[in-house]
């Protein structure tokens, strides 16, 4: 550890705990408490990586989260921020974006081509010839920056998420933030204190003894306060409407990252200030670092940043860095005081600084350059609340315009300057104000929330905002020297690029940003925004205050996609029989949210068994709505196209619904169980929409109707018993219902006990075209009934069948499916509803459109179709075309091989001119072949007269 210093008073490393890790394959060690970067720097590493575009050698610049040169690969994790990620034993750390090695990187040749790689290079170069773009893509991908993901072997596991409802959320754990948190908590507010780094304290952490002591006191007070929840190594990444605040918590035992979704009463923004670099030739040479970086390396990690340093200082941070360097044994060759007009012109050196040229013409020999030229106020969270910060030339930084919503307050360095006590006092005043506003809001919420008890405490009196603003210290405007240098270190955008962009007409800062990509890298403008504005102002010859700013949007700093995804909750619905299906080899079919048995091995055999014997299918996903009340018939008249007033108790009827535009929206069977008691079924996919639509009508348009709608889809497990033996089977298990054809005719409903289970609803309908019964069983007893049916019907050939067999059977019978054989344009005439639609009704949803539709003769018609060659099954959605042309005349909507007929069968929508029975049509297959098919007289291919089901 060649650069490790003796014990420093404020160091955060534990020298008793040595951690071994590797750097580009070389074994090295650090201490617990080190960041990856500090441990490497202690081991004498100068060059950590190569820049994105020109592959210039890069070293430590900020030594914190924002360092643009410290993105490293750690194991299978790319883009790890080595400036803030804590070192762990066994880490395998390597450089990213170099080939073949960090020392000799072929892509560094880009530096020689730099004059040809100016802003907009890609846009200008790779547009032509267009046919070469795929080749360009392949080559450009080779140069893509960033590390490598190993997603097939990654063991990161799931990320995490939680919700929170603090009264006050404080973004920033420096003296102002901690002061705000404590004052708010003392006022009775529940506080969430979010700190970007792994310890509270902000800039006090690398300060003098008194500053560190105060940081420790405040930090301990926050940790101990029962009203304060402290999240360290966490970042407020976004502020959205009504103080919906996203916090990315990076270190948590349960997950690599956790997204905290907080709804805060008031947010206090106290992020402090971020030191910005100075622009001059060679400012990205390893060895050039910010004053804060030098101080952090020395004071927190006991790392000597170099041997001989030149310091350019415009503020107290630079002055303090001089003292720290001196104490660390670094020879300070020169101190250039920018307040007196002194400065740096350029730096030379390849893998490390060797020479420094100053504005007074000196050339100094040094390996380290330290700059302290000003601050960026990270106003991102204010921008997200609509603020447009204003530039103050006397302080050389931006400040809030003050145009902020009342639930957002600013504290600390973003507001102004001051001593530790000043900052803490400002924070405390802000925290008290925040608590007052938040507690008033909480009182309102508790009072207005039905589930809460009335508050037992008085609503606080509104507090005036009488905080004394922090002073603004004078600071010279130090942005760029007389030479050009790097502005955006993440994106390799230089001041020269920005000037060139301005000359090309991209002279608005927003346009320039998009053209040059300045501020669009991982640092997200924290280091480069102010310098970019200054360079543009200079290029445009306008005052900096007039150049404007880019708008900072979420996220405040990049966040992993895993954190955004969190735990993935995609609910799956299961019928009471799904476990049985899975245990008996059912192939799963995801149908919307439902998981269903597609088949049990042989769908064709299952269909044949239904035609020959008897089969059972679980049709629980059918939407089921229990309707009660005297006005149910009115509701049914309204939503169905047919009539319902005269349906007798004990009967069921098929109905179709259309939307206001006359398009078929749903269908199903509804039965009258009692005088004022009905059961409606809907399509599986339409259940929710139909329920919502009924409630919408009842609650909004017809509140005077007495109808109660209750969704009972999952409460009733639906079993369809189909096949010629179905009546025989049910006769063995149904105790109190006469199943004879005379007593229980087609389209009837009865209620009775099945296999000892009371209150089963049985209706006689037939989607498969066979004699069949649909039994709706209380779900807790569904498995008992299902197994009883199978056991009792074993000698009758009873076997389960899946969704695929059902689709075959219904297609043989010619029953259409809403959403498959119809689409978002299919009106009632297309579906062939014929006499079902009663146009003489006084009111029905979509009635005017229905009347209009039935006057038209140009709507597609759904027809039965059979291919001339019965061995060919056209793909569903295959186009029906006009002979040899490609003029579309319709499409196949459903197709299957029929086990009953031994040939293919289809339904399809065709142009009216092709709808007559016997018309020969052409089907264009996916492989381009055209086959002939014939329009059938009926939708049904099997038993169109219904003889099999009406027995």
């Amino acid at each position: 550890m060649s650069n490790r210093l003796p014990t420093q008073p404020g160091e955060v490393i534990d020298r008793s705990k040595s951690l071994s890790f590797t750097w580009n394959g070389r074994a090295v060690t650090g201490f617990e408490g080190d960041t990856i970067a500090s441990a490497l720097a202690a081991n004498g590493v100068d060059v950590f990586g190569r820049s994105m575009k020109y592959h210039r050698k890069r070293g430590i610049m900020t030594a914190d989260h924002w360092d643009p040169n410290l993105f490293l690969q750690v194991g299978d994790e790319p883009n790890v921020r080595a400036g803030s990620r804590k070192l762990q034993a066994g880490m395998v750390v390597s450089t990213q974006n170099v080939w073949p090695s960090l020392k000799f990187d072929l892509a560094a040749a880009n530096q020689l081509l730099g004059r040809f790689l100016s802003s907009g290079f890609y846009y200008k170069t790779f547009m032509r010839p267009r046919f070469l773009w795929p080749l360009y893509q392949k080559v450009l991908r080779k140069f893509a920056p960033g590390g490598e993901i190993h997603w097939k072997t990654s063991k990161h596991g799931a990320y995490d998420k939680r919700y929170a409802h603090p009264d006050v959320l404080v973004a920033g754990g420096g003296p102002a933030g901690m002061g705000a948190a404590l004052a708010a908590a003392d006022s009775g507010a529940r506080v969430m204190l979010v700190e970007h780094y792994t310890e509270l304290g902000g800039h006090l952490r690398w300060g003098d003894d008194a500053q560190r002591a105060r940081a420790a006191e405040l930090g301990s007070a926050c940790e101990a306060h029962p009203n304060v929840e402290v999240l360290v190594d966490s970042t407020v990444t976004g502020r959205y409407d009504h103080n919906w605040i996203a916090v990315n918590q990076r270190s948590h035992p349960i997950a690599p990252e956790r997204l905290v979704k907080a709804r805060a009463g008031v947010m206090v923004v106290a992020p402090g200030l971020i030191e910005r670099p100075y622009v001059f030739a060679g400012n990205d040479t390893p060895g050039v670092l910010l004053a804060g970086a030098a101080r952090r390396l020395i004071n927190l990690y006991a790392v000597r940043p170099g041997e001989k340093a030149v310091v350019m200082t415009a503020n107290e941070e630079g002055d303090a860095a001089v003292a720290d360097l001196d104490r660390a044994g670094v020879e300070v060759v020169a101190v250039l005081d920018a307040r007196k007009g002194e400065g740096i012109v350029s730096v030379e050196g390849k893998g490390r600084v060797t020479k420094v040229t100053t504005t007074d013409g000196r050339t100094l020999s040094a390996d380290t350059v330290v700059t302290a030229t000003g601050w960026t106020a990270p106003t991102s969270l204010l921008n997200m609340a609509g603020d447009r910060p204003i530039y103050d030339p006397s302080a050389a930084r931006y400040f809030s315009s003050g145009d902020l919503p009342p639930n957002l307050l600013v504290a600390g360095g973003v507001d102004g300057d001051g001593s530790t006590d000043d900052l803490e006092a400002h924070g405390r005043a802000t925290g008290a104000l925040a608590a007052n506003r938040a507690l008033r809001r909480r009182h309102d919420r508790v009072s207005q929330t039905a589930r809460a008890n009335p508050p037992t405490w008085e609503k606080p009196t509104e507090m005036a905002d009488d905080r004394t603003p922090l002073a603004r210290s004078a600071h010279p405007e130090c942005y760029r020297s007389s030479t050009h240098g790097m502005v955006d270190f993440s994106e390799d955008v230089s001041s020269k690029d920005l000037v060139q962009a301005s000359k090309e007409g991209f002279d608005s800062i927003e346009l320039m940003k998009r053209y040059t990509t300045v501020t669009m890298g991982p640092a997200q403008g924290k280091l480069e925004t102010v310098n970019a504005a200054a360079v543009l102002a200079d290029a445009n010859q306008v005052a900096m205050a007039d150049i404007g700013t880019t708008v900072w949007r979420p996220p405040y700093s990049p966040i992993s996609l895993g954190a955004l995804a969190g735990r993935i909750h995609e609910p799956v619905r299961r019928s009471a029989l799904q476990d049985w299906h899975e245990a008996h080899g059912a192939s799963p079919l995801l149908a919307g949210q439902w998981i269903r048995p597609d088949h049990y091995g042989d769908a064709m055999a299952e269909a044949t068994n239904v035609r020959s014997n008897v089969g059972l299918i679980d049709v629980t996903p059918l939407g089921k709505l229990d309707l009660r009340g005297p006005d149910v018939p009115k509701l049914l008249e309204l939503v169905y196209v047919n009539k319902w007033q005269k349906l007798e108790v004990g009967r069921v009827r098929y109905g179709t619904m259309v939307a206001e535009d006359g398009v078929v929206s749903d269908d199903g069977v509804t039965g009258r169980l009692g005088e004022n008691h009905w059961l409606m079924t809907t399509t599986s996919s339409g259940a929710g929409a139909v329920w919502e639509m009924l409630e919408d009508w009842l609650q909004t348009y017809k509140p005077e109707w007495d109808v109660h709608v209750t969704a009972v889809t999952g409460g009733l497990t639906s079993i369809n018993v189909a096949g010629p033996n179905s009546r025989t089977l049910l006769d063995r298990l149904v105790e109190d219902v006469d199943l004879s054809a005379e007593a229980f005719p087609y389209f009837s409903v009865r209620t009775g006990a099945v296999a000892g289970v009371q209150n089963c609803i049985i209706w006689r309908i037939g989607f498969t075209g066979e004699l069949s019964y649909e039994i709706h069983v209380p779900s807790g007893h569904a498995l008992h009934v299902w197994e009883a049916l199978l056991e009792t019907g074993a000698d009758l050939g009873c076997a389960p069948f899946g969704v695929e067999a059902q689709r075959i059977l219904r297609l043989e019978k010619g029953h259409y499916i809403v959403g498959q054989d119809t689409d978002g344009l299919s009106k009632a005439p297309t579906a062939g509803l014929g006499g079902l639609v009663k146009l003489d009704k006084t009111d029905t949803l979509g009635l005017p459109e229905l009347k209009h539709a039935y006057e038209r003769d140009d709507l597609p018609i759904l027809v039965g179709i059979q291919t001339v060659d019965g061995t060919i099954v056209p793909e569903e959605a295959a186009q029906i075309v006009d002979g040899d042309s490609n003029r579309i005349m319709g499409r196949i909507t459903s197709s299957r091989m029929s086990p009953t007929l031994g040939r293919s069968i289809c339904l399809g929508q065709v142009d009216p001119s092709l709808s007559a029975a016997g018309t020969e049509i052409t089907v264009l297959m996916a492989d381009g072949k055209r086959i002939k098919a014939t329009v059938q007289e009926h939708h049904a291919h099997v038993d169109h007269e219904g003889a099999r089901q009406r027995v």
Partner: protein
């Protein structure tokens, strides 16, 4: 009928964190009766529990003001007929036994609120959601009806959802509880590896 047992969508019974700070139990067998009654009916007057709150009646059943003009009554298993019979049906009143149609979980313990807050965006703090609170809200992306029904002085939530979502909901809640020491039964992981 009595020999036919109710089959729950969640058949893992009750599981607890090793320190007992959170326990997740299947409560499917709980009798659940939904009552919808217009204002002014005898049923509304009898139930007399405001929307958003709950109370135990003389029979020990938990009567919840679930939505305006809607109540849910939770009772011990097998109390369906008795509860239904107890509700006056004069006027426009609907009484439905929804026991079979609603999966139900009970989440209890000192970490119950923290665990549920991982997958529910409602403020479950004591002040906004005191013991007895009744409300509806998404839990793990499943629409649920909730009752804060503390047991033995411990925070406890009774949560029901449409039966078909029951297994998923249980898995989602169990996953949320793992942070607090609950071990998820094999095969019930949200993100199995």
């Amino acid at each position: 009928m009595s020999e036919i047992t109710m089959q729950s969508p969640v058949d893992v019974g009750s599981i607890s964190a090793s320190d007992g700070s959170v326990t997740l139990s299947d409560a499917y067998a709980t009798t659940k009766v939904q009552v919808r009654a217009a204002t002014g009916t005898a049923a509304a007057a009898t139930l007399d529990v405001p929307y958003g709150s709950s109370t135990r009646n003389v029979d020990g059943d938990l009567v919840c003001g679930t939505r305006p003009d809607e109540w849910t009554i939770y009772g011990n298993p097998g109390r369906s007929a008795a509860i239904v019979a107890s509700v006056p049906t004069e006027g426009f009143v609907t009484v439905i036994d929804i026991t079979h149609g609603r999966a139900m979980l009970r989440v209890t313990g000192s970490n119950a609120t923290a665990a549920l807050s991982k997958i529910c965006n409602l403020d479950l703090s004591d002040e906004l959601t005191p013991n007895g609170a009744v409300f509806s809200g998404s839990l793990g992306s499943v629409s649920c009806d909730w009752v804060r029904a503390d047991e033995g002085g411990e925070t406890s939530f009774l949560i029901s959802c449409e039966r078909s979502f029951g297994k998923f909901l249980f898995i989602a809640v169990a996953d949320a509880c793992t942070e607090f020491g609950l071990s998820v039964p094999r095969g019930w992981e949200l993100h199995p590896h």
